[in-house]
């Protein structure tokens, strides 16, 4: 099977400013690919290159087997822009139908189903939609044609937690049906729940592509343990993967690189009253990659 995205040496400069540098990436059919990075790292640049909104300075990209300049590729893509702008007096429903017609037809029932699922009111003129409702309209237009390839740029921005969950289940359904998703985000938590692989981009460069499970192992977590009595520091000295260890009486705090196994086994000798493990934060994962690179 041909790759959904095949980028080779893809580079984009905006005059002198770097947008993306030498991206080589393959996205395979049927996977959900999470594209992670802080704002301005090059995520949107990559996506806009795939959709032929902007043209590469160097390098090539093929999407669904087509050159990105061919409109045929875009007929098979559903796209949610990172900064979706909807304006005018036109009602959201009419706009969605227009988009559906241009893309080759979407049954009105399908639009209504999605609207109900996301709790979107489509009878409102677009300029009166709130940010959250605009995002819903954006999601509907991206999903409505059941495209082979979904490109979602920061899809959860503006959605409340309940809808974020609904959105993630929509993405899972897409994966189950064997279609492909590229989803960008600066929040690891939402990407790791649904992604098979994650690419991390920083300052225009793809610094890593990892299976989500592998990334989780590499992730740095902050862990706090509270015991029923003060513990001897020697018992926790030189544990593999444990860093920034501090023990104050009955409380232990540290960061863990990868598996927490060694720490858990060392703690098992004492009575643990309370355990706090914070979700790995993207920033810290970046720092891990940075320290590896340097």
């Amino acid at each position: 099977m041909t790759a959904v995205v095949e980028a080779e040496g893809l580079t984009k400069y905006y005059r002198a400013r770097r947008g993306l540098e030498d991206l080589t990436l393959e996205i395979r059919p049927g996977e959900v690919f999470g594209y992670l990075g802080p704002n301005g790292a090059g995520k949107t640049t990559t996506i806009r290159l795939l959709l032929d909104v902007i043209r590469p300075t160097r390098g090539t990209v093929r999407v669904l087997g087509h050159g990105s300049r061919e409109p045929a590729a875009r007929a098979r893509i559903g796209y949610l822009p990172g900064e979706l702008v909807l304006e005018g007096r036109e009602k959201a429903r009419d706009y969605l139908r227009f988009l559906g017609r241009i893309r080759g037809g979407v049954p009105p029932k399908r639009i209504e189903e999605l609207a109900e699922r996301l709790d979107a009111d489509l009878s409102v003129p677009m300029r009166k939609l709130s940010k959250g409702n605009k995002q819903k309209v954006g999601l509907i237009q991206a999903f409505m044609r059941e495209p082979e390839f979904l490109i979602l740029d920061e899809p959860t921005s503006g959605l409340d937690p309940l809808l974020q969950r609904e959105f993630l289940s929509m993405v899972r359904e897409v994966r189950v049906s064997g279609r492909t998703v590229l989803m960008s985000s600066h929040v690891l938590a939402e990407v790791e729940q649904v992604s098979d692989r994650v690419g991390i981009v920083r300052e225009g460069r793809l610094v890593a592509v990892e299976d989500v499970s592998a990334l989780r192992e590499k992730a740095v977590r902050r862990v706090e343990l509270h015991f029923d009595a003060p513990v001897p520091p020697e018992a926790f000295a030189d544990l593999p993967g444990v860093r920034e260890l501090s023990i104050r009486g009955a409380a232990l705090a540290c960061t863990i690189d990868g598996r927490p196994d060694a720490l858990i086994k060392a703690a098992a000798g004492f009575t643990v009253v309370h355990l706090v493990s914070s979700e790995p934060d993207l920033e810290e994962i970046f720092l891990t990659y940075y320290s590896e690179a340097s």
Partner: protein, 263 residues
């Protein structure tokens, strides 16, 4: 795509048609009462107005006749200005305005060839201008006949075709500059400068030897030199206007197809 763009233009279309029609109705009707009192429009009375003003208004030679009045009040300056502003506004809506606001982002990722996207949005502007021209032509003919202006329908049609072509030309300038730069301000500047300079060259500047060659670059030369109100359709001049619009539109297609959108 054309239908969609026309839908977006609907309100402006109605607004401009009504506005220009009202203007035409009011000013042309006044002629009926001015005619009763020949003093107002007599040569002596007009001689009092400053020479530069007369130049700008195209000489105002025979303003007392129906054709002269129509030429001076309607076709010389005011109605072309209204059409040009309208064309500039509509022309900017093709690319520059949606690109600046960000709505073009989704449109450009539809499975439509970029050249076609531009041409369809351009065609929508031409159609909208045509509708406004047709409606205002109808209104003008009705008013002219009701007050017995004494200018044949064919002459009005010839002059009105000129206004339409002039509007299409400047609309195309707006579309093209917008398609090249993606921004409204340069498009409006280009239309504004070209229109004002072009008008000055063929009116105040027509007797200045040093700049008289510039008239060949002025759309107003092709618009007014053939005196359509008096002499009927100036076919070749109009073809030059239309041809220039086509060349500009092709430039717009080529430029838009090559560049990054929304950067």
């Amino acid at each position: 795509m054309i239908a969609k763009a026309l839908g977006e233009y609907r309100r402006s279309l109605v607004g401009w048609s009504v506005g220009i029609s009202l203007f035409l109705t009011m000013y042309v009707s006044i002629y009926a009462s001015l005619r009763e009192d020949p003093e107002t429009l007599s040569k002596q009375a007009l001689a009092k107005s400053p020479g530069a003003l007369r130049d700008i208004m195209g000489g105002m030679e025979d303003v007392a006749t129906g054709a002269g009045y129509l030429q001076t009040v309607v076709y010389q300056l005011l109605v072309p200005i209204m059409f040009i502003v309208c064309a500039m506004v509509l022309g900017n809506r093709a690319i520059a305005q949606p690109e600046e606001s960000g709505t073009l982002e989704l449109t450009i990722t539809l499975p439509v060839d970029r050249r076609r996207l531009l041409l369809e949005r351009y065609a929508a502007m031409v159609v909208a201008l045509f509708v406004i021209a047709a409606i205002t032509f109808g209104v003008l003919v009705a008013v002219a006949q009701s007050i017995d202006l004494g200018v044949g329908v064919d002459r009005i049609l010839a002059a009105h075709t000129g206004v339409f072509l002039l509007a299409v030309f400047f609309g195309t300038v707006a579309v093209t500059v917008g398609a090249v730069t993606g921004r409204k301000a340069p498009a409006m500047a280009a239309v504004g400068v070209w229109a004002v300079a072009g008008y000055m060259v063929v009116t105040v500047g027509r007797n200045v030897e040093a700049i008289s060659w510039l008239k060949w670059l002025s759309p107003f030369h092709y618009y007014g030199e053939g005196r359509p109100v008096y002499q009927g359709l100036p076919t070749w001049d109009y073809l030059v206007l239309a041809g220039a619009a086509v060349v500009l539109a092709l430039t717009a297609v080529l430029a838009f197809d090559r560049r990054d959108v929304g950067v």
